[in-house]
């Protein structure tokens, strides 16, 4: 065991929190945000892939964005962990020892 600097530990948590907040903000704006203005977008007559833009966002755009956000989160989080010297093998070993309550 070695002590982690308070600053380093706080920085780790802060980076992870910012990542979560940004991703959720994007996720909410493509779903709730677009739905809240669906009637306005409908009036403009804009289209994506041949269908009205508000319909496209509900049927495809939002879902594809969600998938991209989740993979981006998994990849970025792995990089953050690596930058802070976290070894996934050690994680597996540690969680394996304490899993059964």
């Amino acid at each position: 065991m070695r002590k982690v600097e308070k600053k380093t530990a706080e920085k780790y948590f802060k980076i992870r929190t910012i990542l979560v907040v940004i991703c959720l903000l994007i996720g909410f704006s493509v779903s709730y945000g677009v739905a809240a203005f669906a009637d306005v977008i409908y009036e403009t007559g804009a289209t994506i892939l041949g269908m009205p833009a508000h319909y496209y966002m509900g049927a495809q755009g939002a879902v594809v964005t969600f998938v991209v956000l989740l993979f981006a989160n998994a990849i970025i989080s792995d990089r953050v962990d690596k930058a802070f010297g976290i070894d996934e093998k050690a994680n597996v070993r540690i969680s394996g020892n304490s899993s059964d309550h």
Binding site: R16, L24, A35, D39, Y42, Y55, A62, V64, H101
Partner: protein, 553 residues
Amino acid sequence: MDQQSLVSLTLILLTFALYIGISVYNRAKVTSDFYVASRGIPPVWNGMAIGGDWMSAASFIGMAGTVMILGYDGLAYIMGWTGGYLLLTFLLAPQLRKYGRFTVPEFIGDRFDSNAARLVAAIATIIISFTYIIGQLSGSGVVIGRLLNLPASTGVMIGVVVIAIYASLGGMKGVTWTQVAQYLILIVAYIIPIVFMSLQVTGNPFPWLTYGNIVSELGAIDRELGISEYFAPFSESSKMQFLALLFTLMFGTAALPHVIVRFYTVTTMKAARWSGAWALLFIALLYLSAPAYAAFSRFIIMTQVVGQPLDDLPGWTESWINTGLLEITDSGGDGTLNWQDLVINPDIVVMATPEIANLGLFVVGLVAAGAMAAALSTAGGLLITISSSFAHDIYYRLLKPDATDNKRLQAGRIAIVLSTIAAGVIALDPPGVITQIIAWAFALAGGTFFPVLFLGVWWRRMNAAGALAGMLGGLGVTLTYIFLSMAGITIFGIQDTGAGLIGVTANLILVIVVSLMTPPPAQKLQDEVTDLRYPEQMTYRDGEVWMNDGTDD
């Protein structure tokens, strides 16, 4: 029995044999096999199992039909049921995994050090999962009933027996690998018909790229008929109801105990994040296809059925009229079929598509087997969750903490069989249509659990009193609102299916207010919550963070 029934039945029996074979091979030997598959499932496979667990009879059979009938307003289901995984993977799953328990009630009981909270959570889990499983069983009843020309009730009983056999044998370990197989079967069965339909209608085998023009054409057809355009927003409800429904589905998904428990089966927080990402990718394959189904089916109905003479309708309509899922009246009295004369049950769209597109015996059978896979995989996961609430949370953690591993395993199996029978009996005469029953389960799950779990892993100061007030208050408010709105009393025009918005808000306020009015939880409990900020290798203890690098203390 005609040739079609024979082909479909053979395919379904083959898949049943496969599921039972898998669960015999992966028979649970100890309780950690039974509840969390020994926490050894790799993220990609867990993602696939989550996909099977998640995509229910309602997703497979009902969703495309719902979108077809509701138009834009049906898209709340598409965004809500996928967006839940965003909340789950960002806000709950990794933290809950690091906390390391078997069930959701166990997390709540231990996090707040309160057996009262454990009991409330266990009972709420049982109620929610029960509501949900009734939807699955009536779903499998529709399929079997249609297939064998039996009443749906006989179909329900057959589904019940199959599920009880394989879930009680394999436990979570068996259910995980059957869910992987069921995912593969259901996604292939869902995508094949839509690819052929896209080829027939547009000449392009990629429905996801081509149905956009069909959507626009549908709007033009609707304008001509003088009905509201297919893609016009909020034509079937209000904007507020749409947003409330979207909220209910999204937050409910993130708080469903049978979905959360799947994240307990992986090894680490990192694996939980990757599981979430893979799960949503696999789920999205179906959810991106449903609006295409909706558009193509509606296009075919609009161009080949509507406007035809009543005595010269396409052959496939007859068998569905016989099941009562399609009704035709002749209100105009002019012998031709108007759109207004058609009453279409959302459940038939996917099941009838292969017949409408004339895809032949094998594809019709495949779709039937896929629908069964969707119903069974979700029911399997739900049964594990219900039985773990009885056998692990109530029997082992509350009543008999000294029970041996064998006794606990036996208790789990008995609980599964009993809950299957009970759910089967209720599903014989289910209240309301499938989608509606399921939408209630989401309102109840979100209203009872989401704020409690979310603040439980992120807010140290939250205590047992707050958790109890949140769960009981949230559940009470949600149930009350569902019944009030059914009776016609609503706030902002939010209907019963959007009750989650009211329930989650009430729960959140109760947790914060009651926690702050009562003493803070013990320091040890608070430290455990701080510890969830860091990966497994980092531990929070006595105000310091420690890195476990293999050296001794």
